[in-house]
Amino acid sequence: MSLFTFMQTRKDYRWDVSTRGNFYQPDHYWVHKEIRKRMKQILLKDGGLRSTVERRNFWIYRSKLIKIRDTYPKDLYSTLVEKAMPEPT
C-alpha cells in the first residue's frame, strides 16, 4: 500500500481539497506517530515512494512549500528574477 493510500484510509486524517491544490492539512499530518512511522518504513525499507506524483506531493507537502509561498507576495519569484536579470533597455 502506498503512503498516500494508507493516509486516505486513516479515519482521523483530514482530507482537504480547498486550499490551493494543497490537499493535505499540514497541521494534522505529522501529529500521528503512526503515519510518520509508516512514512519512515516506506522511505527506508519498502524501496521509497512509488511514483513521481507521489514524490512531488510529498515534497510540496513536507517542505511546507505552500505555507512558505503564501507568506510572501505572489509575484516574488518573477520580481527576483527581474531584479537579478534586468532586461536590456
Binding site: R36, L43, L44, T52, R56, R62, L65, I68, A84, M85
Partner: protein
Amino acid sequence: MTEIGKDVGRTFPDLRFFQKGQPGQEKLFRILTAASFFRAHEESEVLGYTQGMNFIAGTALVHLQQHEENTFWFLVALLCEHKFRQVFNFLSDGTFRVLCFQLGVLTQVYLPDLHEHLQRQKIPIDIYASNWFITMFTNDLPFDMAPSVLDVYLLEGHKGLLRIALSILTYLKQELLALQFDELMVFLSHPNARESIFRGLDQYWLFQTASTFKITTNLLRQLRRLFIVREKLAHIKQCVSPEPRQEARAALQSEGEVDSRRQL
C-alpha cells in the same frame, strides 16, 4: 552570477534536459539567481549562492515536473524551513564541521576497521563528506537515487544524511580498505572516480542499510556538545601553548626596547 553560470553548466551534464540549448540550464540559472537574492525577512541577509545548491535545485527541478517557481520555493523551504542552509556554514563551529565530527564518531562506532584505516592513512573526513553533505549526495549517487535522499532529508533532516553517509561507507568499505593514501584521496575527492562503483549500488539495499544505524536526536545533540567542548579546549590549548607566549614575550621586549629608546 558568473559562479552560478559556471555551475549551471556543470550540473548533470549527462542529462539531456541540462545540456546546452535545452530549457534546463536556463531554468536552473533563473532559480538559483532568484534564490541568491531571496531574503527571509526584510532585515535578514540574502540567501546567497553556495556550490552544491545547483545539484539540489537541478534534482528538484526534474522531479517537480520542471516547474520553475515550485522548484524555487522548494529550494527556499529546504534552505530556510528545513535549515539546510546551516550545512553551508563552514566556520570552525559551524554545522558542516559538526556534521563531519558526528560522521567521524559514528564511523568509529559502526565501521571501526574502516575508521582506523582512514585515520592511519590520515584522510580527513571533509574530503568526502563535503561533497556528500553540500550536494545532499545528488552529485555522487546515480540520478534516479538522488530524489530518495531528498525524501529522507525531508523526513529525518541531518540524521538522515548521516545514515545515508554511513550506508555508503559500508558499501565502499572493501574498496576503501584496499587503497592507500594517494589512491584514497583521488577516490574520495572525485565523484567521477566512484561513478562506476555506484552504478552497481542497489537503492533498496542503500536505504535499508541506512535504516539499521541507530542514530537518535539525543545522540547527535550530545555529539554536538562534545564537539563544541573540544573546539573550546583546542582554542584554550592554542592560547596557552609556548609559541604564542614566546611571540607575546618578543612583542613585549620590542615594546620595552622602544620605550627605553624613548627614555634615552
